[in-house]
């Protein structure tokens, strides 16, 4: 079966949140059973959470050749309806009731339901297309990343290789299923014959930590904000004796915190891996080998096995000298086919030829370790989610307000014209809910007018100062 390791049928593949053990043999039979519910060459939206239902549906879709779009199960109805309008999937799999009248219940599977589109439905999908992920997941942009089975398998294989994941590893799902990093943890463990504790608890809940000990979890993944949480909880006091590996991706941790975390984890015998990646590369692009964390805490490390990185200057020429900044380019089997913004785009084949322009400006040192200096594009990472500041401005325009949006990681600044007649408190709440980002990260700043450059463009630098 695609992706799933077949060497250990009697070993545990999954542990559900209530402690039920699912062996690899059982998992394969569940997926086989689900296969009969869905036809091939169609689209399915999976409103996923970290549970057995979502995982079986996902694996079955990949096996049958039905293309899943993974979405968060708490996705806003407006955003879901927008995606349904654009892509009109044949199926929707969800643990909630659907308000959309075009769908009716086909069957139930454990605690979830499979809904079928009432209308005659056919879609032209490229034969290599296997999976769709959202690019930011939050601003409601319908821009999707198109992934192939080769992408998924090669990234899972590479991750298993450099993180040395094997049958004795057990990860807890500390990140959302539909998030490329969260998904990569699941894929790499199923690929290697390891196991997964399915949990929807957060690090701020006691249950998260007790279940790690109860089920002997060995590996935890986190975005920078998760590590902030561990620091806040007191990382030295965490008692997690079975854990031997912790990974970090989804944004940059500052080097002082890196040192503090690494020192603390080392005393516990936990290897700490910092990684870099993008959904456009399925998940991972580079990693920092543990032994170099102290020496190079700011580095994103070296390319993952099977991948390569290089830099190009403004003229598109390859940079061969160390310490010179240029745009970082990645090549590997995990680079996506391209984007989809409409249903027609799903029929289009390979657009990237395995090469991804990351949009990040970087340099490398004498030992070939890469360091990111900045970004070409107006993107920030908020709690591990990539947010396009331009898309957010557009979203606010659709709500009828003139705004300028800037930000740094984990902070969004929304400058809005004064006298717009809105309540800052309500507006902040509304934005937070529509992009699914906690309002703690959002600051609304009333402005009399926006500073502009001579060209008439917004002067972002003047706004920030």
């Amino acid at each position: 079966m695609f992706l799933i390791n077949s060497n250990y049928p009697n070993r545990t593949a999954l542990i559900s949140h209530d402690g039920n053990i699912v062996t690899y043999r059982k998992l394969i039979s569940l997926v086989d059973g689900f296969n009969s519910y869905i036809d091939d060459k169609s689209l399915i939206f999976i409103l996923a959470s970290n549970n057995l239902d979502s995982l079986v549906c996902y694996l079955s879709a990949l096996e049958v050749g039905t293309v899943p779009l993974l979405l968060h199960d708490s996705i806003h109805n407006d955003q879901l309806d927008n995606l349904i309008d654009i892509y009109s999937p044949k199926y929707i799999f969800s643990n909630r009731t659907l308000t959309n009248k075009s769908y009716s219940l086909k069957t139930s599977f454990k605690d979830s339901n499979l809904f079928l589109n009432n209308n005659e439905n056919s879609v032209n999908l490229h034969e290599d297309l296997a999976l769709l992920l959202t690019t930011s997941g939050s601003t409601g942009s319908p821009k999707l990343v198109k992934l192939t089975k080769t992408n998924i398998r090669s990234n899972a294989e590479s991750i298993s290789d450099f993180l040395k994941i094997g049958p004795n590893d057990r990860a807890i799902t500390s990140l959302p299923f539909n998030y490329s990093y969260g998904l990569s943890v699941i894929n790499s463990h199923l690929f290697s014959g390891g196991s997964i504790l399915l949990s929807n608890s957060s690090m701020m809940e006691e249950k998260f930590w007790t279940s790690i000990n109860k089920y002997s979890v060995t590996s935890i993944a986190g975005v920078p904000y998760n590590y902030e949480m561990m620091l806040r909880l007191g990382i030295n006091n965490l008692k997690i004796p079975t854990v031997n590996k912790m990974t970090q991706a989804g944004g940059k941790l500052d080097s002082q915190k890196v040192k503090k975390i690494n020192d603390s984890l080392q005393t516990k015998g936990i290897n700490f891996y910092m990684m870099y990646g993008q959904t456009e590369a399925t998940a991972r692009i580079s990693y920092l080998p543990c032994e170099n964390i102290d020496k190079k805490p700011n580095s994103i490390g070296i390319p993952i096995p099977g991948g390569s990185l290089w830099l190009e200057d403004e003229k598109g020429l390859k940079i061969s000298k160390s310490m010179q900044a240029g745009e970082m380019i990645y090549k590997g089997l995990n680079v996506s086919m391209g984007y989809a913004e409409s249903i027609e785009d799903l029929a289009i084949g390979e657009a990237n030829k395995g090469i991804l322009r990351t949009g990040d400006l970087a340099y490398f040192d004498e030992e070939g370790y890469y360091f990111i200096e900045g970004r070409n594009n107006r993107f920030i990472k908020v709690f591990g989610n990539r947010i396009s500041l331009d898309s957010l401005e557009k979203l606010i325009t659709t709500k009828g307000f003139d705004s300028v949006v800037t930000g740094v990681d984990d902070k969004i600044f929304i400058y809005i014209k004064e006298n717009s007649g809105l309540s800052i408190v309500d507006f902040r709440k509304e934005i937070s809910e529509s992009i699914g980002i906690n309002m703690i990260a959002i600051k609304i700043i009333p402005q009399l007018d926006f500073p502009r450059l001579d060209s008439g463009k917004i002067d972002y630098k003047a706004l920030n100062s």
Binding site: S202, M204, Y225, M439, I440
Partner: protein
């Protein structure tokens, strides 16, 4: 400001709620803003307000407005 006012202000600022919802029914995940990220922000605000450092057990057990009042007693902060 009394301790009660300070305590309430932390919730009001973090979660954009009005004072009248702050009672025993105001619990973790009762509103979208009080998720794990919001929880951490609220704990940070309370630690700053009362100049304390809370233990892990108290942070993860801090599951409602009223439970929080009990937890703060461990740091000699009394909310009347």
């Amino acid at each position: 400001m009394t301790n009660r006012e300070k305590y309430n202000k932390a919730f009001i600022d973090c979660f954009s709620v009005s004072e009248d919802v702050l009672n025993e029914k105001f619990v973790y995940q009762c509103i979208p803003a009080w998720d794990s990220v919001g929880h951490m922000g609220m704990i940070a605000a309370i630690e700053d307000t009362f100049d304390i450092m809370m233990d892990m057990d108290d942070i993860v057990d801090f599951e409602s407005y009223t439970v929080g009042i009990e937890k703060l007693k461990n740091y000699d902060v009394v909310i009347d």
